[in-house]
């Protein structure tokens, strides 16, 4: 059975079409856009909160989008075990709404970073990563506020509960300061909730699906999810 992806569109989302294109046109899954003012998830099996600059990133990234009508439905969907992926700005929204712990602050360098990044897959114990089949994947990043921060206790719990999914690493998988593009604690690039049905990541897997872009490791994440969701 093929899952249906619902891609939420906020005012200021700009990776919504990329995500839709990747899962529907490249990977052949069903997909539908969900306007932020709607409440209906239209039978989606997976919700994608896409990248972009929802509400202009005013106040704090993701802070206003979390109050969009659709987010009540997304929150309940997640609480009931539904699969949710937040990419970049979508990750920031998941943090603001409290489906994932922590916050994002500005990149340590204060620069917007746009480049390919290498991610060390930290756990295969999740629908998102069970069938990735590689320990290092190449996925691009493009963000100004990807510096993941949280308190020590939350960080310890993330580690203890196997909730850290991706860490920035070198091409050969070394998790080193020089591979950290934004100053994120422990090189964190992606995390999950405790139940492992909600995942947020700063890198953009939807921009690493179509072979024309010369990298396809993003397909591993979407395909792992599709394979293990039901």
């Amino acid at each position: 059975m093929k899952p249906k992806f619902g891609v939420v569109v906020f005012p200021g989302s700009n990776c919504d079409y990329d995500a839709y294109y990747a899962v529907k046109k490249v990977l052949g899954y069903e997909a539908e856009f969900l306007w932020h003012k709607e409440k209906e998830l239209k039978g989606s099996d997976v919700i994608i909160l896409p990248g972009g600059f929802s509400y202009g990133d005013y106040l704090r990234t993701g802070s206003i989008a979390r109050f969009s009508p659709i987010m009540d439905s997304v929150y309940s969907f997640a609480e009931n075990g539904g699969a949710v992926i937040g990419i970049c700005n979508g990750f920031q929204i998941l943090l603001e709404i409290g489906l994932l712990p922590g916050v994002m602050i500005q990149n340590e360098s204060l620069k917007f970073v746009c480049k390919d990044s290498y991610l060390s897959v930290q756990t295969t114990n999740s629908i998102f990563s069970k069938d990735i089949g590689k320990s290092v994947i190449k996925i691009p990043i493009k963000h100004g506020e990807g510096n993941y921060y949280t308190d020590d206790e939350t960080l310890k719990n993330l580690e203890k509960n196997d909730q850290i999914l991706f860490k920035y690493c070198t091409i050969d998988g070394k998790i080193a300061p020089e591979a950290n593009p934004n100053g994120a604690l422990l090189n964190i690039a992606g995390i999950m909730n405790k139940r492992k049905n909600v995942m947020g990541m700063m890198p953009h897997p939807e921009n690493a699906c179509d072979p024309i872009l010369s990298k396809t490791d993003g397909t591993l994440i979407f395909n792992s999810l599709a394979k293990n969701i039901f």
């Binding site: 106040l59 704090r60 802070s63 206003i64 109050f67 603001e96 922590g102 916050v103 602050i105 500005q106 990149n107 340590e108 360098s109 204060l110 510096n147 921060y149 949280t150 308190d151 100053g183």
Partner: protein, 83 residues
């Protein structure tokens, strides 16, 4: 009616890359005594009620729920009655 001013500050335990960068500018300008620059937000608005308790409650909730993120920020506010 009340005029509310809210100041949102990043917690001192959290690094403030903007503040650090601005402080580098201070050094370039020759201000060698400037320390610990931190950048916050100043937000002002009016609360259309005569009930000060209600105004305080609304400003507090607005600040907690939207204007600040309690994980990384603290806020303080003042209310001033205006005609």
């Amino acid at each position: 009616m009340f005029k509310a001013t809210v100041i949102v500050k990043r917690r001192t335990t959290i690094v403030d890359p903007q503040g650090k960068a601005v402080e580098q500018g201070a050094k370039l300008l020759g201000f060698n005594n400037i320390r610990k620059t931190r950048i916050g937000k100043y937000i002002e608005f009016f609360v259309d009620t005569m009930d000060k308790d209600l105004a305080e409650k609304e400003v507090k909730e607005y600040s907690e729920k939207l204007l600040s993120n309690p994980i990384m920020e603290d806020f303080e506010f003042t209310l001033e009655e205006v005609k």
